[in-house]
């Protein structure tokens, strides 16, 4: 049986690992390579690494750092941040990364998704949609440039469009829930699962294994990703990297797939 994917999401700023709250107040939490080594030992399902500066500062992806991370990583790696061309995506895949994530560039130039999929295969193309609930509305708008630019487009419509263009996976990342550890947006998660026929991954808000279980319980086999939950421990947010082992995953999360009657 295919398992849901439990995915740590690491943010990189100035070459170091950071964690944000609502895309602001970034706090330095350590060295990316060290984090990758710990997730290797803990046998994490997959890893997402996002360079949150690259697009905003209009910088090329840091290929040297990507190659070092990819060589160290013993689980599938998804890398995003600053990818605007087919050539950049190819270079990242060639350095040993399994999937490339595009966000701002996919919104600004949708054909790029198709072009990249044609070159590296759609299984390696991930579109990350940062979203925020519109005031006094049920609609979630897609925001780009690390939460600074509102495209005013409905995240579910954009997800469908990206699937049609060639995305192999859709990740939605809640700006409202980022870093707050109060749980995922379950309603939107289920709407996304129903909207597209690609794998989907939900990011933003995890504070416990129960929060992850709730997503699996309503959406089935999807990816659930988290940042803070895997890097902070306790009420004072002390930095301590953790990840559930296979037994914990089966007992506390995956068991939601086979409810006992």
């Amino acid at each position: 049986m295919l398992r849901p994917r439990i995915i740590p999401c690491l943010l990189i700023q100035d070459g170091g690992l950071v964690k944000t709250v609502r895309f602001k107040d970034s706090k330095y939490v350590g060295d990316p390579i060290n984090a990758v080594k710990i997730f290797n030992e803990k046998e994490a399902d997959e890893l997402i690494v996002l360079d949150i500066d690259a697009t905003v500062t209009d910088r090329e992806p840091n290929y040297k750092q990507i190659a070092i991370l990819a060589a160290e990583c013993r689980m599938p790696l998804c890398y995003g941040g600053g990818i605007r061309t087919v050539g950049q995506a190819q270079k990242i895949i060639a350095s040993g990364v399994e999937k490339v994530a595009i966000s701002s560039a996919a919104l600004g130039n949708p054909q790029l998704v198709t072009q990249i999929a044609n070159e590296i295969g759609r299984q390696s193309v991930v579109v990350v949609l940062d979203h925020k609930k519109r005031l006094l509305s049920k609609q979630h708008d897609v925001w780009t440039h690390n939460g600074k630019v509102n495209t005013k487009r409905n995240v579910l419509d954009v997800a469908k469009e990206m699937e049609a263009l060639g995305a192999g996976e859709i990740v939605i990342n809640s700006i409202d829930n980022d870093g707050r550890m109060k749980g995922y947006d379950l309603e939107l998660s289920l709407q996304l699962r129903k909207a597209v026929n690609t794998p989907v991954t939900i990011l933003g808000g995890a504070g416990s294994l129960d929060d992850m279980r709730a997503v699996i319980s309503s959406c089935g086999v999807v990816g659930v990703a988290a940042g803070s939950f895997f890097v902070f421990k306790g009420p004072y947010r002390a930095v301590l990297i953790s990840y559930p082992d296979i037994t914990q995953k089966e007992k506390f999360i995956f068991s939601a797939l086979h409810p006992t009657h």
Binding site: E43, D45, R74, A94, G96, E98, Q123, G168, N197, P199
Partner: protein
């Protein structure tokens, strides 16, 4: 020496790292000369079928590989698209495959009833291996591997299926004929399960 075929596709370094950690000698081949010391071959692959075949055919190594595998019977393992390249043909492309394992590569969507199956098949899945198969020694129970694909290998002869996996249907996630092996999943990214499989291949 275990030799990884580098024709410009696939995560070469991940395989090198696994074998280095196991203290098993490994090398990377980019030319025919690099293949001269090979006693085992790894054929990785990612992306589209035709692109992979074009790259391999243009690498200058194709004729030597046919000789090593078909005449000198050196063990070879194809990984992911590398496994699909072992087939006669693929629904994904027009170019012929290597034709080393009888079969064709099909898209999950071309199977009746799978129109709503989320694709690609992405993530960790169980496998059921043929009992006593040397590639899966120690991996008989509880083994799981990382998959990332939308096309699968359909064996012409069931006897060539070394392991199977269920995703929408039961499909061959590993094949073997004599000295030729293939796995659809990514052992280089499947933690200790994948390490065990690559070690088994080294010890064949």
């Amino acid at each position: 020496m275990i030799t990884i075929i580098d024709y410009g596709l696939g995560n070469i370094q991940a395989f090198v790292n696994v074998y280095r950690r196991l203290h098993i000698p490994v090398t990377v081949a980019r030319t025919t000369e690099d293949l001269s010391a090979a006693t085992k071959l790894i054929l990785p692959g990612v992306g589209a079928f035709d692109h992979a075949m074009e790259q391999l055919n243009a690498s200058g190594m194709r004729a030597t590989l046919d000789e090593l595998v078909l005449v000198r019977k050196i063990p070879v393992i194809g990984i992911c698209v590398g496994m699909q390249m072992l087939a006669d043909s693929s629904e994904e492309g027009l170019l012929p495959g290597l034709g080393w394992v009888p079969g064709r590569v099909r898209h999950f969507r071309s199977v009746t009833g799978l129109s709503h199956l989320p694709l690609p098949h992405m993530g960790w899945n169980d496998i059921e291996s043929q009992s006593g198969h040397s590639l899966f020694k120690g991996l008989e129970s509880e083994a799981r591997f990382y998959f990332l694909h939308s096309f699968y290998f359909e064996c012409a002869q069931k006897v060539h299926e070394a392991a199977r996996t269920e995703y929408g249907l039961n499909f061959s996630c590993a094949v073997s004929v004599d000295n030729i092996y293939g796995v659809q999943f990514h052992p280089e990214k499947s933690h200790h399960f994948g390490v065990a499989l690559l070690k088994n291949f080294a010890e064949l």
